[in-house]
Amino acid sequence: MDGKELLSRLIEIPGVSGYEDQISDMVRDTFRPYCQEVHQDAFYNVYGKKAGTKQGLGPKVMLAAHLDEIGLMVKDIDEKGFISFTNIGGVDQRILLSQEVYIHGKEKLFGVIGAKPPHLQGKEEAKKAVPVKEMVIDAGLDPKRLKELVSIGDLITFKSPLIDLNEPYVCGKSIDDRAGVVMMYETMKELDKLVFAGEVYFVATAQEEVGTRGAIISTYSVEPDIGIAIDVTHGDTPDASKEETHNMDTGPVIAVGPNMHPKLTDRLMNVAKDNGIDYLIEVEPGLTGTDARSIQVSRQGVPTVLIEFPLRYMHTTVEVLNMDTIKKAARLTALFIASMGEGWEECLTY
């Protein structure tokens, strides 16, 4: 399957943090043809294992891209049948008004987030963002029927299928970080073209959006020698500073800072240079908001690198991605893994 096709399918499957059962099953099935072994754990992390053709000489590498997505959750249902909700993961309340959603109750229900018409608002009121606690979802059902189908704690996802913008840009929801899962899938294919040592665990992690919780658990379980976290970063837009955003068309972004292993990161950059893959650098002075933060300090410590793709409008329903970046990043990652043969430990020595 081609990457865009896979991305389009993945973002259609609900997988709000903590409730990733469906997306986890789908990712498992997607990984299967390209891995020797695939399993899931109790927290819906998916582990795909690929052993190198050169046995015993290379490191145990763990890739991590998260499969969960941000979303909403039913908090209460009032006597008229309006649903109040809370957010799971970081949702900008300003994008919520008038969104179309699915409520995952006993049945999958369609609903809209209501917005008070402008002519009913006072001047002062109109200046302020509407807070989440004042919003409700209208599922168009009478309260009795609604309460039969929906209960407190049910998940709500956004309706926003993948569309093509000007080639090669695509747009949709939850590209953060389903595109990372697609990148792992493409990396598997790339690896099949190469000879590499050691073994590679492709881990699609759960609960990243609520505190990299899936990565904490899965890294402990895999006990890797090297970690490669894969996530999105901010693409350039006119309303954000150049310091905080990245050109959408150059290629993958390699992060540097205390959270990443300096020598391993150098090696990653050298592999990119040697193979003519353009990349950008993102400087992260503190902890990154990605799985890398947890992978690095698992057990006795895991030297970790972070590979990112620029994404515009992160955590909205119209995230925009350059699909070519995924291919470039996958090729870089596969070449990086294949570059570590005998004596790979040397590149970690302080």
Binding site: K242, G257, P258, N259, P262, I281, P285, Q296, G301, V302
Partner: protein
Amino acid sequence: MSDLLKRLVSAKGASGNEDEVRQLIIEEITPLTHQVTVDRMGNVIGYKRGSVPGKKVMLCAHMDEVGFIITRIEENGMLKFGTIGSIDARILPSKRIRIGNEGIPGVFGIKAIHLQEPAERETAVKAKQLYIDIGAKTREEAERKVKPGDYAVFDSEMVYFGEGKVKSRALDDRAGCAALIEALKADCPFDLYACFTVQEEVGIRGAKVAAYNIKPDMALIIEGTTCSDVPGIEPQNFSTRMGMGPAISIADLSSYSNKKMVAYLIERAEKASIPYQIKESLTGGNDAGEIQRSRGGVMTSVVSIPCRYIHSPSSVMDLEDFNNTIRLVQEFLKGCEAL
């Protein structure tokens, strides 16, 4: 001994880039220990065999310091930066720094007072509006010397002044590293792990994996801690007082010290007539937080050297406090069989 301190505070070591201070510490502790290893995070662990089997003792001081990282080079050759660890941006204007492993000199510029509006002078500067000037006229010129991702630290020499006082950068926690190294000269009945951790200032990262590796039974953390016994601060907010001896923590935001260890430290201090103080605040956190919660739990306590103006290029410490901290840690080691 103060030569050791001088060597330690002269070495660069912003969190995530501790190479220079790490090499120095390895050299310093090699003669004092049986084995020196560096783990995957870059922590240095010196192992000293004990004569009594059973328990493992961990001494811990962090070798990283607060600093900066270059995030972007502007067209005009000026550098934008991020801060590593917590630094009050108001102290930055008109300070010198050293960038990268080469130690390229740079300064935080600020437009001259003549050019400022009166209201501007009243406003605190933010790190985002500041920039580093290395004297490069263009981006190309700057790129020949520095690149995004290069780390930087304050440039400030150690100076003896006043009555037994010392001023330097990075006293938090090179003073602790120096005290730990000196304390290693004392005998410990148990197996001793002298641990110099990385990345404390960015979230107690190194200590977490070091403790997991070492599996200690007890750990003593040696810190440089805040000391606010200065004008304008009321006594209840001093936290520690300069010249009153090492500060023993009952608790801070990251850990609650083991009561037996605290009682034992006090007992040893009193027996050896070492002045000490109890830290009068609950603020801050340090390596003890992660060590205490490692695996099934570890007994921890913290001894701190009071440092005024912490996280700035001009931290100030009293040499008597420093010496007494060494004595206290040595006393702790000698008798720790009692624990």
